[in-house]
Amino acid sequence: MATRDWLGLKEELPHHRRLILTFISFVAPLLLWCVVSYVPWIWHPDMRITTPGDVDYFTEDMEVPRADFQRELEKVRAAGGTLPEGVRVNPVYLPAPHQVARAFYTAFTTEPRLDEPWLHQSLGHSIRTILWGFILSSIIGVPLGILCGTYRFFSRLQEPFIEFFRYLPAPAFGALCVAVLGIDDAPKVAIIFIGTFFQQVLVIGNTVRKVDPALIEAAQTLGARGWRLMTRVVIPASITDIYTDMRILLGWAWTYLIVAEVVGTMSGITFFINQQARYRSFDNVFAAIGMIGIIGFTSDIFLAWLGTILFPWKRQGRTRKSKAIPLSMVASQNRGEPNPSDASPLPPAAESGKTTEPETPASAMPSDALTKPTTP
């Protein structure tokens, strides 16, 4: 095991290696940021003035490009005046990690200026906007997608237009939405709806179309037909993949959020970010952007965990602890089910010895299990 290749194609890595890599994937960018922020001779293109000296336009804490500082320094030195002093700093738009880390806390505790909302109110506003857009889209999009996936009739009736419409960028409808729906939250929800809905119908339609036709045929030979074929077979057969699709789509909805929130009166987290940038509090800007990532990521982990509760048959072994799977792993988990046609003679369960064919000798067959009279 230990000698196995780190770069084995399509081979799952041992648990501890996975943990190491997950750790690195977060730490490596953070480390890069630390290096740029804390190693003084790397980048740091500006100078913060500590002593203005005899340069007339320098003031304390002013930041100037290094080249300008050098030029003024030479001028003052030639004139024989008091030399200005300063330290190398990064531009104001790249705060150091500790500043951003602090901002994660202080952004919530700092009293907002004028009648601006608190950060938690802004975040709440954004989440509300996303959820309304996504829920409204799902209420119509999911059933329509399932219909399109199940019946060719609906697929041919709906999908060509939706296919066309999904190429129209949702932000392009901004002005229209404001004209129709006003300047408050309604046009924002509408943008997220437009951005989500058309993809949703197509993606879910495709997922439902992928249901193994053998399952449908098996159900037909068992007497299922019509509506019940859809509710009892097609939907349960595709529900786990639909759930995964919804997780991906919710991620897309988040990417429409910022665009949606500049429509009409700017609101939510976008408003907060914009204001903070205006006040040049870039630590708060970074913290706010980071919060969107954290909210999205943790909500997805939560949904993954919820999936293992909702769909017990997807758990690999019920004795093992159920695992929440991040989306990057979903493909191999969900779509990688062995195809009957390429199944190995002994299924994995039997090979690993979890379940074995019980040795039922011929005489051990229950003879009183007759449920029907034999009438030859």
């Binding site: 193994d212 053998a214 399952l215 045929e217 098996a218 159900a219 037909q220 030979t221 068992l222 007497g223 299922a224 019940r228 009892r232 077979v233 349960p236 057969a237 529900i239 786990t240 769909f311 017990p312 048959w313 072994g317 019920r318 009957p340 046609s341 199944a343 003679p345 002994l346 299924p347 369960a349 039997a350 979890k354 379940t355 074995t356 064919e357 019980p358 039922t360 011929a362 051990a364 067959m365 229950p366 003879s367 299990a369 007759l370 449920t371 029907k372 009279p373 034999t374 009438t375 030859p376």
Partner: protein, 302 residues
């Protein structure tokens, strides 16, 4: 030594017991009638005929196997019987009534595992009963009985992915039988199983068939399996596609694996082998590959 050079009895010869058994079978009502069935693909004129003029009578509680080389349309035939495909011509009658589409009166076991992965073993068996409108309590009780019959009571709360291939197929059989079908249609049900499991499954199937009032239509390409299980064997051929022979199996019941070497068994096997592998025109050269030798001279493996 090949089968053909052995001194074997004529496969038509039946012991008195076997002959009496076939008499008895013939007196039972006909469950399934196939009349002049034809299946072809493509436009008229350029059509590819899979089979034509296939006729067949299956009596109640008879075990009929359909066998043939690949491409003979045995799966297509059985899918038409199940109502999953349409015949081009001819008809299939169930108890004298023409069939329309799939229905619970013809249970089917597929080669691939078609258990519903979102249902436990017990819920899988309950599916057909629920579709017939039975309430959950009685459906559950019936499902339990069927699981007991296939020896899987311990696994009723398991999900299909936790079972081995043989166990999955036993659940599939229980699921089909729970619907009380007239005919149980089985499309190479043990084809994906390993040799040992397959052998066990054949013996399970015979035991189940003895206890349940059901007629079985079985497809296989395995000659031993066909002879071991069935009363009569319909041999389909290719070029031209259609029925070659409808053979009464001379091997007496009850069947045991020891009979694999009995003279009747071997005689019938030789006959089936001859029918299925009979050279058709222009076919003789096909299994000799035109291969250039790519090893050292004198380096022979056989």
């Amino acid at each position: 030594m090949s089968l053909a050079t052995l001194e074997l009895p004529d496969y038509h010869t039946q012991s008195p017991e076997v002959a009496a058994r076939f008499k008895k079978i013939e007196q039972r009502p006909v469950v399934l009638t196939v009349r002049n069935l034809k299946k072809s693909f493509g436009a008229p004129g350029h059509e590819h005929v899979v089979f034509d003029h296939v006729s067949l009578d299956v009596h109640q509680r008879e075990f009929v196997t359909i066998i043939g080389p690949s491409g003979c349309g045995k799966s297509t035939f059985i899918r038409i019987a199940a109502g999953l495909d349409e015949a081009t011509d001819g008809e299939i009658l169930l108890n004298g009534q023409p069939i329309h589409g799939p229905g619970p009166d013809r249970g089917m076991v597929f080669q691939g595992y078609t258990l519903f992965p979102w249902r436990t073993v017990k819920q899988n068996v309950m599916f057909g009963l629920q579709m017939q409108g039975k309430d959950n309590t009685s459906a559950e009780a019936e499902a339990r009985q069927w699981l007991e019959m296939v020896g899987l009571s311990r696994f009723e709360e398991s999900y299909p992915h936790e079972l081995s291939g043989g166990m999955k197929q036993r659940v599939a059989i229980a699921r089909a039988l729970a619907n009380n079908p007239q005919v149980l249609i089985m499309d190479e049900p043990f084809g994906a199983l390993d040799a040992i499991t397959r052998c066990k499954m054949q013996s399970y199937l015979l035991q189940i068939w003895k206890r349940v009032n059901v007629t079985i239509l079985f497809i296989t390409h395995d000659l031993d399996e066909a002879i071991y299980l069935s009363d009569r064997i319909l041999v389909l051929g290719v070029n031209p596609g259609g029925a070659r022979e409808y053979i009464e199996n001379p091997v007496p019941r009850p069947r045991t694996p020891e009979q694999f070497l009995s003279p009747e068994f071997l005689a019938l096997k030789a006959r089936l082998d001859h029918l299925i592998h009979a050279p058709t025109s222009g076919d003789e050269e096909e299994d000799k590959l035109p291969m250039i030798k790519m090893t050292h001279v004198g380096d022979e493996v056989e």
